[in-house]
């Protein structure tokens, strides 16, 4: 099936014809007996990896297996924030690689992912915050990542609804602003990658859960058992987010992961009032406004591990307390929906994008509470790792073995959500 190219002209032409003639954007595939490479997990990271495998690495046949529907996990449940102001060199390289790919992703995929670099502002409320954020600003600049320090008055000028009065329990003492950060449309990221991968011949197979990993006499991966029958593959990449431990357990691989619920919520839609993204680690709030007008609010992780994709209400109200104090004008807004996703958290809050001890088996996991921002870069280096059986220089530090060797990439201070 040839892909319909999207453009303003195509939209106008279809509009004049009553919008007849639009075709499905990707095929519904039945699994074939075998593929050169199989990606487990049809979120942004997995679909993007399949796209890069087909586009840049020339693998003849690639499939993405998704136990539910594509983009139905954390890709469709996050708060769509994109930034790269991480402290350490390894992280700055990885996340800024992503931001650079975000900037051209709509053109690359011929799909409007609505990337909006509207600026991400992180608030400081204590002397410790001020010192840590200024350290981040300097470290980021050394790595070529934009980040600047703002006074409370400059922060308010950038985001007028912000309360910088001293009547708060934790007044705003300043802010770090990354202007290249922003948001994108999360569903469009999954759909855009799916459509582009499909056009390159990738089979996207939904409602297909992996139930076993079969290995040959040398221990190498040879096939997957699934709810839709066995599928042969000599290379398997796992991008299963919160379910990664369960999938890799099928091959006897243990990981330093724990899966927690992470919640988010949206308000009723209102007219444009909020021009940027604002985050506060200390009093725990993060907020932006979607193009539909809803305020999109990120809450925290629940205290306990879980796979239920829901969490406790007090986690949400804790965040709303902070939102109401920071933005008093939102106090009478009603919240419309809340939901949870399951995030896989590593001890150092940095991801794992690496080979596993099992030949032919690769893993992309541990993104914790902040995987969406990294989608394009993660997908790119994961495909490289699978195709060449060695990491790209950018993801070389993000191994499983770093926990044995002590080379942790300790980004707990940069992770948006307090763990």
């Amino acid at each position: 099936m040839s892909r319909q190219r999207f453009s303003g002209f195509a939209l106008l032409r279809r509009a004049l014809c009553g919008h007849r003639g639009w075709r499905p954007q990707w095929r519904k595939c039945e699994p074939k007996p075998a593929y050169d490479a199989v990606i487990v997990g049809g979120g942004g990271h997995g679909l993007g990896a399949a796209y890069h495998l087909a586009k840049e690495h020339g693998l003849g046949s690639v499939a993405v297996l998704e136990k539910g529907w594509i983009g139905g996990g954390n890709t469709g449940r996050n708060t769509t924030i994109i930034r790269s102001n991480y402290l350490f060199d390894e992280s700055a390289a990885l996340y800024d690689h992503s931001v650079k790919l975000w900037e051209n992703l709509s053109q690359e995929l011929n799909y409007n992912v609505m990337f909006s670099p509207r600026g991400v502002m992180m608030l400081a409320h204590t002397v410790h915050d001020v010192q840590v954020f200024k350290r981040h600003v300097h470290a980021n600049r050394c790595n070529g990542v934009d980040n600047e320090w703002l006074s409370p008055e400059e922060a308010k000028a950038f985001c007028p609804p912000l309360n910088i009065g001293d009547d708060m329990r934790y007044p705003v003492l300043g802010a770090a602003l990354q202007r290249r950060g922003g948001t994108a449309r999360h569903d469009a990221v999954a759909w855009g990658y799916a459509r582009a991968a499909d056009a390159l011949g990738v089979d996207i197979i939904e409602n297909c859960e992996v139930t076993g990993i079969r290995r040959d006499a040398q221990g190498r991966v040879e096939a997957l058992e699934t709810t839709r029958g066995p599928i042969g593959a000599r290379k398997v990449g796992i991008a299963a987010a919160g379910n990664t431990s369960a999938v890799l357990n099928l091959a006897g691989v243990r990981l330093p992961l724990e899966s927690y619920p992470l919640q988010a919520l949206v308000s009723e839609p209102v007219k444009p009032i909020f021009p940027c993204v604002v985050m506060s680690n200390t009093i725990h709030a993060y907020i932006s406004q979607s193009d539909k007008g809803e305020l999109v609010i990120g809450a925290g992780t629940d205290a306990y591990t879980s796979y239920t994709q829901r969490g406790a209400l007090h986690i949400n109200t804790h965040t709303l307390d902070a939102i109401c104090e920071l933005f008093p004008t939102f106090r009478r807004l009603r919240m419309m929906r809340n939901w949870g996703g399951i995030v896989d958290v590593t001890p150092d809050r940095s991801p794992i994008i690496a080979k596993t001890p099992v030949p032919g088996l690769y893993v992309n996991c541990g993104w914790g509470t902040g995987g969406f921002k990294a989608t394009p870069g993660s997908a790119h280096v994961f495909a490289w790792t699978i195709a060449r059986d060695e990491p790209h220089p950018i993801n070389a530090p993000f191994t499983i073995e770093r926990f044995r060797d002590g080379h942790l990439i300790d980004e707990a201070a940069a992770a948006a959500v307090a763990h």
């Binding site: 243990r254 796979y307 239920t308």
Partner: protein, 97 residues
């Protein structure tokens, strides 16, 4: 919010508790005898069970005591709770395994 069965106080709301992670991870008696892989196994590797999970809780804003519990992480339903030092119950009533 969960209702958590403290073995000393009975069912209490989650806000009274703190979570202590996976249970039955004994600190090695002589860490200097371990190699790096074994030490990483103790420090970082977790079963992250999808199903009935043995975990520590502390009734921090109640009796203050630690205890262990079995909880199904696919439903958040508590299967059993038991005191520190007691072995994991082999199969409790209502255990979905």
């Amino acid at each position: 919010m969960l209702l958590i069965p403290c073995p000393y106080c009975g069912k209490r709301p989650e806000l009274e508790f703190t979570y202590g992670g996976e249970a039955h991870l004994a600190r090695p008696a002589d860490p200097s005898q371990l190699d790096d892989r074994q030490w990483a196994e103790y420090l970082y590797m977790r079963t992250n069970t999808k199903g009935v999970h043995a975990e520590r809780w502390r009734h921090a804003r109640g009796c203050g005591r630690f205890f262990n519990a079995l909880r199904d992480t696919t439903s958040d339903r508590f299967v059993a709770s038991y005191r520190i030092g007691e072995p994991r119950p082999a199969r409790a009533a209502g255990d979905p395994r």
